[in-house]
């Protein structure tokens, strides 16, 4: 995660932000490496935007220290930080052309005209907007405005780029395109991107590392697959994808469910149950499969129930299965075989490595 010199791009050390009546960010400690695509994910009010604004210098932390590349910048004004921001509503200057918007930062830094001209050209090329350089922001589409905002920030070669819900205002198709585009640009320019979003899919698509935030704290930090496969808390399990959560009693490597089923855990997951009599376990809907009575190689973790609802979704079908003593369990199956109808009694099973323990 860190570059050769080992100094992280951004470090937060016990940063707290207290507003009049609530604590937006609580004792947050975080280290973000060089050249990372880092996403802060969480519901609105979780403190992710406040954290971003503190890194950008728009808010001062109530306590704690913020370091950029090892240098303490706490209390430094935004215009003194080598950090640039892509704002949620883009905040393009309406009275300036695309070119003037993009050149704004370099002009303030008194870069000479020839270099400005060259860098504006290159940056507009990077975001594929060279043809619209003379247009005013209001003459551009949402996606184009988004690119101008990105170009206006990137042209300054910031060491860290902050993105505040940059794709929130775009429609679904454009959003998907821009996700790939943003990732391409990040890899091309090789600087740290810190991306704030409430869209879990967006975070997983783009980020190398995700911090899931809730109530001013980081609940889970890791790569998208780590967090998805082992969410650790009920909040993360529910916020990032869908989960079936079940309560059970621990005995060694196994968890007994209220309906009498016994669920096998991996050693790593079992170790996390140590010292707990009861525990909550979970499994992702797509990890469950249906099996017939005569099937061989049925995984060890099994539940039986009656299908309550079937919804066909094209690539897959989602089932809600009523399991006595547990409740409804969601199952997602690829559409390879027959589709089960509501009322059918089914056997579902999954492998031990797909069970996770939440605390």
């Amino acid at each position: 995660m860190t570059a050769e010199n080992g100094i992280p791009a951004v470090e937060l050390d016990r940063v707290t932000k207290q507003f009049a009546d609530f604590t937006a960010v609580h004792e947050l400690t975080l280290s973000i490496g060089e050249n990372t695509f880092f996403a802060m994910l969480g519901p609105s009010g979780c403190g992710k935007t406040t954290t971003l604004r503190m890194i950008g210098g728009f808010e001062d932390p109530t306590s704690g220290t913020i370091r950029l590349h090892g240098e303490d910048v706490t209390g430094l004004k935004p215009y003194r930080r080598a950090v640039n921001t892509v704002f949620q509503s883009y905040a393009l200057f309406p009275h300036m052309t695309v070119e003037e918007n993009v050149a704004f930062g370099l002009r303030r830094q008194k870069v000479d005209d020839a270099e400005i001209k060259q860098r504006v050209g290159e940056t507009l090329e990077l975001v594929q907007l060279s043809a619209r350089r003379g247009a005013k922001p209001k003459q551009l589409s949402g996606g184009q405005q988004q690119r101008v905002a990105l170009a206006r920030a990137l042209i300054n070669h910031p060491r860290v780029l902050l993105l505040d819900e940059p794709l929130g205002a775009l429609d679904l198709k454009l959003r998907k395109e821009m996700q790939i585009e943003l990732k391409r640009i990040q890899q091309e320019v090789g600087i740290t991107f810190i991306h704030v979003t409430h869209d879990q899919e967006e975070a997983m698509t783009m980020a190398d590392t995700i911090a899931v935030m809730n109530q001013g704290r980081i609940e889970r930090l890791g790569s998208p697959s780590q967090i998805y496969e082992d969410p650790r808390t009920p909040f993360v399990a529910g916020f990032l994808g869908a989960s079936n959560l079940m309560n059970g009693t621990v005995s060694g490597n196994e968890v007994g469910l209220p309906n009498g089923s016994v669920i096998r855990l991996t050693d790593i997951q079992a170790a996390r149950c140590n010292g707990h009599a009861t525990v909550q376990i979970g499994v992702r809907p797509e990890k469950l499969s249906f099996f017939g009575n005569g099937d061989a190689n049925v995984p060890v973790n099994r539940l039986t129930g009656v299908i309550a609802d079937t919804s066909f979704q094209g690539v897959s079908t989602q089932y809600l299965v009523e399991v006595p003593g547990i409740g409804q369990v969601a199952v997602v199956e690829q559409n390879l075989g027959e589709i089960h109808a509501p009322g059918e009694e089914v056997l579902m099973a999954w492998k031990p490595e797909h069970t996770f323990v939440v605390e």
Binding site: Q88, A91, F93, P94, H95
Partner: protein
């Protein structure tokens, strides 16, 4: 069979719907014709009459217009000078005031705007009359300034051009402040943050972003101040002396005291044209139409 009757019916409805915008325009146009066009044409007609009251006749008397330059040059100069100075003073006072209310007003914003409009609850004449008392030769202001040695022993404030300019500036300050306040108030705060993010110091952010985006307010404010100020005569009557007479005073006395309608009409019409001629290049130069988002 059915289409044959349905089509004219639809066509008639479409035609009727097409008429609606014009019907809605009608009251406004009628108002403009009866209360603006007709009086203006009548004014032009009167301005070319000659004779002795009450027997004026239409004689293409262009000489009425010449009087503006031959007889009333001084008053025209006073009008432009006083109105211009008062407008500049208003702008200098109003911009920081509007900026403060819009950006630092917080929950007091609406209260402060109401305070700004408070003087309007008192009639224009009374407000100006009270200035006459404040600036009177035996009043507190004059005696204090004399005591501090800032005014000579025989100096006065009343009946000076300074008093007239101060009166105009005082009376028109809200007209300048409100449009500027509105343009600053609706300014997207994230634009200022974006400027700071892009290495603009607060001064640069103001010069490059806040000021240009508040120009529509500044232009509206200067127009709302300058235009009525050029034609004002009340401030001179109450706070000035005949030496400070503006063109408004001349028109007023020509119309009401001397009953010299033709010259008064010629002066009025010229004043109107002069204002338009002065302001069109100003509005063009500030290019406000480009700024309206």
């Amino acid at each position: 069979m059915t289409t044959a009757t349905a089509e004219p019916e639809l066509a008639r409805m479409a035609r009727r719907r097409a008429m609606v915008p014009y019907l809605l325009l009608l009251p406004g146009i009628a108002w403009l014709i009866f209360f603006f066009m007709v009086p203006i044409l009548r004014l032009i007609g009167v301005s070319l009459q000659s004779g002795i009251y009450p027997n004026y006749e239409f004689t293409w008397e262009w000489g009425n217009y010449a009087q503006l330059w031959t007889t009333y040059r001084g008053q025209v100069w006073n009008s432009l000078r006083f109105a211009f100075t008062a407008t500049v003073i208003c702008l200098v006072l109003a911009y920081p005031l509007a900026y403060f209310i819009a950006f630092r007003g917080g929950k007091w914003k609406n209260f402060l705007v109401v305070m700004l409009l408070m003087p309007f609850l008192m009639p224009f004449l009374l407000r100006t009359l009270s200035w006459k008392i404040i600036l009177a030769d035996e009043g507190l202001v004059v005696s204090t300034l004399k005591g501090l040695g800032l005014l000579g022993p025989n100096a006065t404030l009343l009946a000076t051009s300074a008093a007239v300019i101060a009166g105009i500036a005082y009376n028109f300050l809200p007209f300048m402040t409100l449009p500027i306040y509105v343009s600053l108030e609706k300014l997207d705060r994230s634009l200022i943050e974006a400027a700071a993010d892009l290495y603009a110091t607060p001064a640069e952010a103001f010069r490059k972003v806040t000021l240009p985006l508040s120009m529509p307010g500044v232009v509206a404010g200067t127009l709302l101040t300058f235009i009525p100020a050029v034609g004002d005569y009340v401030n001179v009557l109450l706070l000035g002396s005949p030496n400070e007479f503006m063109i408004g005073n001349v028109i007023q006395s020509r119309f009401l005291n001397v009953l010299d309608y033709p010259v008064a009409a010629a002066l009025s019409f010229t004043l109107m044209i002069a204002i338009v001629v002065l302001l069109v290049p100003y509005v063009r130069a500030t290019g406000t139409d480009e700024l309206v988002a």
